[in-house]
Assembly symmetry: C2
Homo-oligomer: 232 residues x 2
């Protein structure tokens, strides 16, 4: 491990969305040297990765994009041809696991973050999991985060030897979307760089998918002007 | 979940090597409907995947190959340009984590198997982890397997709802290579279909890497004729 006086490296999962960009700002504010990691996982559009690269550049942090073909195991509207749901009300969003759920996505992404962390001698992983506006995903909850931390410690050479104590940071876990936006604005995040929409219309966000609805509502509740350009 | 009278689907991680092929035979013998899953993860050679396809065809089971570019996070002789060690003695193999270690590999592979299982409504994952002839890998031990089982239960929609109880089967865990070969032969496995070598020479196994040495020794100790064609 690095000396206490040196900034510690951390791996930050960066989708290019509002949440993960705020997490990147938090990791930096906490004194880490963030290494951003994004995934090309068979998304239907490239807007997310374009935003992730833009954000990493703006923060001046190393950024890796790892290709992984989740379409080979199927099961999600984000990677298959199932239609992305539109104009759902909040009750519907919270009730079921949405069809936009990618099987075991955060497990896969954290596993890859762990591998990257191991090559960096880093023990700190950051992700934007959130249990408030989490839209029904099971792998965005504290029990999942804790189980992954325990796994990491026994899964890796540096964990087993005791050289590294793994910690999965999910600093947004209990924040509302409005809280997240307020925290990001305090830290100087430019949300115009970020992208949330599941189904963009050219350069515009659709304004109607779950992600757009949550984002819009968050800006309104935070009393912060939404820089997003919506189609509807 | 399926009715008890129906064969249960299971996901079997299949590298095309001796161990995972034996696991496939065990899963079938235990009454599961195996679905084989292999990874194209930036290996330096294609012999493993060719063997995996050959084995899956011989068993008549569904087989998916998922591409994942582990080279983006580096750190291993199996995916980087570090030289594969040759002619190491048994003491050296057991002592250190070898340079052929792929960071967090089994964590990543089980995470993807979990995603695939979720799309199949399956709760059973099989892998060839082995703590006896395990060549120093931290993610081939019972503590790792148990931690992953706990993670799976809280990581997935079907685990959280209680619809599926996840179980990670590592039937080779406490077997020697000779035990594994004897078990496979009992089950009718044709080991000529399988491939173990880290550094093949054309169509031949090198005969000198850790994998070749363990394989050779296993056949000798099992008193079974080794069908492998070695270069040295």
């Amino acid at each position: 491990m690095s000396l206490l006086s040196q900034p510690r490296k951390a791996v930050v999962l960066l989708s290019g969305g509002l949440d993960s960009t705020t997490v990147l700002a938090i990791a930096r504010a906490e004194g880490y040297l963030p290494h951003a990691l994004s995934f090309r996982y068979g998304q239907r559009h490239q807007a997310e990765l374009t935003a992730a690269s833009r954000v990493a550049r703006a923060f001046g942090v190393p950024h890796r994009i790892l290709a992984i073909d989740l379409r080979a195991i199927g099961g999600s509207a984000l990677t298959d041809d199932i239609e992305v749901p539109k104009d759902r009300d909040r009750a519907a969003m919270g009730k079921d696991v949405p069809v936009t759920y990618v099987p075991a996505r955060n497990t896969v992404f954290l596993a890859l973050a762990l591998g990257y962390a191991e090559t960096l001698d880093a023990g700190d992983l950051f992700l934007g999991a959130n249990a408030v506006d989490y839209s029904g995903y099971p792998d965005c909850r504290p029990a999942f985060i804790e189980a992954f931390e325990r796994l990491a410690q026994v899964a890796t050479a540096q964990g087993v030897s005791g050289a590294v104590q793994y910690r999965v940071h999910a600093p947004l876990m209990s924040l509302t979307k409005a809280d997240i936006i307020r925290r990001g604005v305090e830290l100087g995040v430019d949300y115009a760089l970020t992208h949330s929409c599941y189904d963009p219309v050219g350069e515009l966000a659709c304004g109607r998918c779950d992600a757009c609805q949550l984002r819009r509502k968050g800006f309104t509740e935070a009393g912060v002007q939404d820089p997003t350009r919506y189609a509807a």
